[in-house]
Amino acid sequence: MFDFLALIGHQSISKLAGFGRAAIILSYALVAWPEPKSSFKLLVKQLYHVGVKSLLIIAVSGLFIGMVLGLQGYTILVDFGSEQSVGQMVALSLVRELAPVVTALLFAGRAGSALTAEIGLMKATEQLASLEMIGVDPLRRIVAPRLWAGFISMPILSMIFAVVGVYGGALVSIEWLGVYSGSFWSVMQGSVDFYDDVLNGVIKAIVFGIAVTWVALYQGLESVPTSEGISQSTTRTVVYSSLIILALDFVLTALMFGDV
């Protein structure tokens, strides 16, 4: 009985210590002043691995989601005679909700798991320890560029998702279903507000980017240095990121759109 209580106590305290370590990693990697020349090159390299390589899956997913939204939206709206509003439906769903959330989920699955596996392997093969030994701070050299690459790439990927999705919806509605293109675009432009919808979507994407990259890097640094440990950390990254994204999405939506 006491063993059980002791176990709960031990788990809670070690979880708390974990949060603390995560916060220290984040603040140190953000606050540590970067050396201008070398850190920019590292950032560009990480932007490539984190952002550019995710571009294909994000763009293709955006296209298909936009096309499905256009198709389903048309099918429902044509019964009410309001099929010209399909542009408004596609654009608002994408810009407000789907672009930030789906991009973040895909990003967590693709870039987040890659980050965790990479850092976990570096830890397992003692590369991080050797860097510390030669006097290079691994947080500054390894973690910080990946963190900033994630923060910068997420909003960009989310906006690309939204635009490709809207054009996918336009393709399906205008070309294949016969919605008049003038009313498609003008009803959409009349109802999508730049500050309330587009900027709020970008803010959501930035928040999700911070969450996913932070979780991925923390899980990588904390992973048990065996092959099984790395696979567990990678799975944890994807699962925790997804849950955090969806929970944060609800909170942000309630804050941004709750009162209208």
């Binding site: 560009v44 490539y48 960009i156 906006m159 690309i160 939204a162 635009v163 009349g190 587009v198 970008v202």
Partner: protein
């Protein structure tokens, strides 16, 4: 991968992001770079009947401003609607009238303004004297029944 290729690809990625941002601003939301200067006018209504903030204020169907605030006037106990009109529209005479109209069958409410004949124009802070409230369905039915009964 050569570092030059990587740099070029990252540059293209950032450019794609900027293009997406501009695309979202211009073609999806129709943002036209700020609305410029405006001045405020007010109107009293007995019943605003579903008018919301950000509704259009139109003159002959063309938008000349937006509704920015809806509240109660404590002195007269009627609804007080605050509207922001674009500064270029400076020819609204002081005896203009406002009316709450419905856009389409299911559409939202908006405010239509008709210009009067006076020389003096509305300026910042003016009150539009002549106002007509929204058509409320229950009042219409009540009026119809009353007319029927009195026949």
């Amino acid at each position: 991968m050569r570092s030059r290729t990587i740099e070029v690809l990252v540059g293209l990625f950032l450019v794609a992001g900027i293009v997406a941002a501009l695309g979202l601003a211009v073609s999806v939301s129709g943002y036209s770079g700020g609305k410029g200067d405006t001045y405020k006018i007010y109107a009293h209504f007995d019943n605003i009947g579903g008018l919301t903030k950000k509704a259009e204020v139109t003159l002959a169907g063309v938008q000349i401003g937006t509704v920015t605030d809806i509240g109660i006037d404590a002195d007269y106990l009627v609804a007080k609607v605050e509207m922001e009109i674009f500064s270029e529209v400076d020819y609204l005479s002081i005896d203009s009238s406002v009316q709450i109209l419905t856009s389409g069958l299911l559409g939202g409410k908006y405010i239509g303004l008709s210009v009067g004949a006076e020389d003096e124009v509305l300026v910042d802070g003016s009150l539009v004297e002549d106002s007509q409230s929204a058509l409320v369905l229950e009042e219409l039915i009540g009026k119809f029944l009353f007319d029927k009964v009195s026949e």
